[in-house]
Amino acid sequence: MRPNHQFTEFEKALIASMPAEGSEVGTILSDTGLPSRRDERWKWTDVRAALREEKQPSVQSVSSRAPLLALDQPIEFLFANGHLSQAPASLPDGVTLSRGGGYPLFRENLPNIATEKAEATYVLTVSGKLDRPIHLRFLSEGSGMHHTSVQVVLEEGAEASVVESLEGGEDAWFANGVMRFTLAKGASLERLILQQANDDAVQVHFAMANLAAEANFTQGTLGFGSKLCRLETQVLHEGEGARAVLNGAYLLSGRRHLDNTTDVGHTVPGCVTEELYKGVLADKGRGVFQGRFYVAKDAQQTDARMAHNALLLSDEAEVDAKPELMIYADDVQCAHGNTAGALDTEALFYMRQRGLTEAQARAMLVQAFVAEAFEHISDDDVKARLTALIETWLDQQTDGGTR
């Protein structure tokens, strides 16, 4: 137990809700509490401070709403406040849904809590090439808390795309989700995470991806933040020649907070990781980027590159970044870059000289800045819809008079 740790009402209730006996997760929780600024990995995203008051489990239904991202013939699963409330009547060939057991504990305890508290761990198994996207819609409402746990298993040579949209209504709900991706040899997964919520919600969405040899894991993220939101992805290259792309963009206004944390472990030779995050911060928005590449002694010929660029549109915004390299192998190419700055005033003047209004020029420059993070997306329709979401955000900025 930590010295002087005063448990919050939230923590006390959560601890009380854990099984009394034999829950390792519960023991850890009552030992350490929720992560807070005193934990190195959470120093800029203090979950404990954001969740002080006691929360009841959420009711298992939500009002229906149009999807944040309309997909072409999606295989849609709808989680209403953590409860799987809609699933396709029949699944296409090669896809099965089952309930899975527990898996080993994560280093972080929040995903462990999610696994333990979720109604079930749903396991989607894919074999062969799936030509329709799987859409996991996580809908949240009310002021309670709920947890989800989903596992996606791609068998050897399988191909699939998974879209997770984290959406929600008003109120101060807390959603805690864990995803686990297992890619067998030569499997290929395109993952897209879309996050949009209100000013009061707290969200933690954690994912772990294990990649076998020659597997391809491509991830894109578009987030607009909430009171406190953390999107974390851990990737482990376990087979030679695996490849991971981790891209993302975030646009934060008001007092929204979004933390993108990634941790990529390279344990075998010849793996590739490319990572690019772009952040746009308006008003009092606060962006956090933590990226870590770990290269073990045996992971020779690793090629890993990371970049994070932030654009500050307001003097009250804040960005905190920690791009980290931990390297134990010598024959590697590893690099990271980080920049933070304002819009290029020279470009703004040039564009306005041609007749664009300031808002138009800014919007165009912001779109251009962000677009790079979505270049990897193969589906042009999806790309266009993401652009439209960004456009909507930009329009709100000018309407609200923020600059």
């Binding site: 500050l312 920690k322 390299l325 010598d330 190419q333 590893c334 690099a335 933070a340």
Partner: protein, 518 residues
């Protein structure tokens, strides 16, 4: 022990040190000086603090200051966040004060025991003023001027003067060139002397950059600091020569806790060099220094370090634990503080020379080369805290890890809400030699002002096989080739060093990497 030579030029010393180096294989400064010393009783309690203060004939306020720090320290926990591992330090198993028995103050340089003089001479630090005219080429160059080939002799004839303060175990044994500096109004003396002779200055500035409560090691230092250097450069004065301190730990089980305080008043300039060595011993020795720099309006301080404490042997036995707090305060407008360090020694290094950029338009710089070999561990970097408007900072860090060593760059660039127009550029490159070592980069970037332009780049790689082959095809052996390429890798930082140090540093790189290839 060799005898004191009457006249020594730099070339001669270099030859001697090279010879010693050969003898010692890897650590060239591992000899023990045979003199009697007076020590405080082993261990640390309030009485130890009183003993040190009394020995130094300190005024009451200084003792009170120390005691307060000691009280705080007892309530603090040793930090664990750095990426270094070492067995728990028993703070009661160290001596906190050791001085040559003949007394620490010498009326003239001739009173310094010849053993000590010889010791310093072996380190390449001639104390006698006659010997201080270092045979350094490249005359006429002012400190800070870019040099591309520091190791190559030029045609220069004029000699550059360096004033030296030498700290032997816990006490300052001699300060050279005192008179000439006095003429310029520059105060350069041991901190113990300064506490007695310039209490108003010391009182005003000590602890004003690194407060007694700052961190575990700094607080410990505040309680038991034994000696160190004090520099004050008055308004508008450009210090006429480089100032230099050499620190040496000699006694076994002795902790060294120097305290350095440098104040550059309005419009002043000073360049300060710090060198460190310690003999080879099986036990680990503790070194916890504090360096405080204060630059007032338009002032500039350039602080260079060549840290070559004993790193331990090939198997990781012995070596210095180096836990240092160095911080500069650009207190007023247009001031500048520049840190340059070459870190090759110590078993464990924990060190982040930092700049608080408070004054508008002030500038902070950090240039670092860190080399770790065998079982060394280093966690080093900098913090640039931008508080003032239009403040700029530049960080160039080159890390080379070989053998079984582990090295981390840890840095912070922080831009506060009101600091508009801030610029930072950071470049961190790591080089791994062999596959048993580790190199890590942990930068923290915090920006709260939209007009800031912050750029950070980092790379990790190994020596290029092609370049190695090319060099060897031209006739260099593998070690020579590695040394040449490592020098090239470090060039941006080596250029920042004053000439005398650049030469020394290049040699040090070679020595440090010995045995790392093949």
């Amino acid at each position: 022990m060799s005898q004191v030579k009457e006249t020594v030029v730099k070339e001669g010393i270099d030859q001697a040190t090279v010879d010693v180096t050969r003898e010692l294989e890897t650590y060239k400064h591992g000899f023990i000086t045979d003199i009697e010393t007076e020590k405080a009783p082993k261990g640390l309690n309030e009485d130890t603090v009183r003993f040190i203060s009394a020995k130094k004939e300190e005024p009451q306020w200084m003792l009170d200051w120390r005691l307060e720090a000691f009280k705080r320290w007892q309530e603090m926990e040793e930090p664990t966040w750095a990426h270094v591992k070492y067995p728990a330090i028993d703070y009661q198993d160290h001596y906190y004060y050791a001085a040559p028995k003949t007394g620490s103050k010498y009326e003239s340089i001739d009173d310094v025991p010849p053993e000590i003089l010889a010791d310093f001479e072996k380190l390449g630090i001639p104390l006698k003023e006659a010997e201080v005219l270092l045979g350094v080429e490249g005359a006429g160059q002012t400190p800070g001027e870019a040099r591309t080939d520091a190791g190559v002799g030029g045609e220069g004839t004029a000699k550059q003067k360096v004033a030296v303060d030498a700290v032997f175990d816990s006490v300052s044994v001699a300060t050279t060139f005192k008179k000439e500096l006095e003429k310029a109004g520059v105060i350069f003396m041991s901190i113990s002397e300064a506490i007695r002779e310039h209490p108003e200055l010391v009182k005003k500035y000590i602890g004003s950059v690194v407060p007694t409560s700052d961190n575990f090691f700094a607080t410990l230092n505040s309680a038991v600091f034994s000696d160190g250097t004090f520099v004050y450069v008055p308004p508008g004065v450009r210090c006429p020569m480089e100032l230099s301190t050499y620190f040496r730990i000699n006694e076994a089980n002795t902790g060294q806790f120097e305290r350095t305080l440098i104040v550059a008043d309005k419009g002043a300039y000073v360049s300060y060099l710090e060198g460190c060595t310690a003999p080879m011993r099986d036990e680990n020795q503790l070194h916890a220094a504090v360096v405080e720099l204060v630059a007032l309006e338009d002032a500039e301080i350039k602080y260079s370090t060549v840290q070559n404490w004993y790193p331990g042997d090939k198997d990781g036995k012995g070596g210095i634990y180096n836990f240092v707090t160095k911080r500069g305060d650009c207190r007023e407008a247009r001031s500048k503080i520049s840190w340059t360090q070459v870190e090759t020694g110590s078993a464990v290094t924990w060190k982040y020379p930092s700049c608080i950029l408070r004054g508008d338009n002030s500038v902070g710089e950090f240039y670092s080369i860190a080399i770790t070999n065998n079982h060394q561990q280093a966690d080093t970097g900098t913090k640039m805290i931008h508080l003032g408007k239009n403040t700029t900072s530049r960080i160039i860090s080159k890390g080379i890890a070989a053998g079984f060593s582990d090295q981390t760059y840890r840095g912070l660039v922080s831009v506060h809400r009101k600091a508009s127009g801030v610029r930072n550029f950071t470049q961190c490159d790591s080089l791994l030699i062999g596959d048993q070592c580790g190199a890590h980069t942990v930068p923290y970037i915090e920006a709260k002002n939209s007009s800031a332009v912050l750029e950070h780049e980092a790379t990790t790689s190994r020596l290029s096989e092609d370049q190695l082959f090319y060099c060897m095809q031209r006739g260099l052996n593998e070690e020579e080739a590695v040394s040449l390429l490592v020098n090239g890798f470090c060039k941006d930082v080596l250029q920042q060093l004053p000439m005398e140090f650049a030469v020394e540093a290049q040699k040090l790189l070679e020595v440090s990497l010995e045995g790392s290839v093949g």
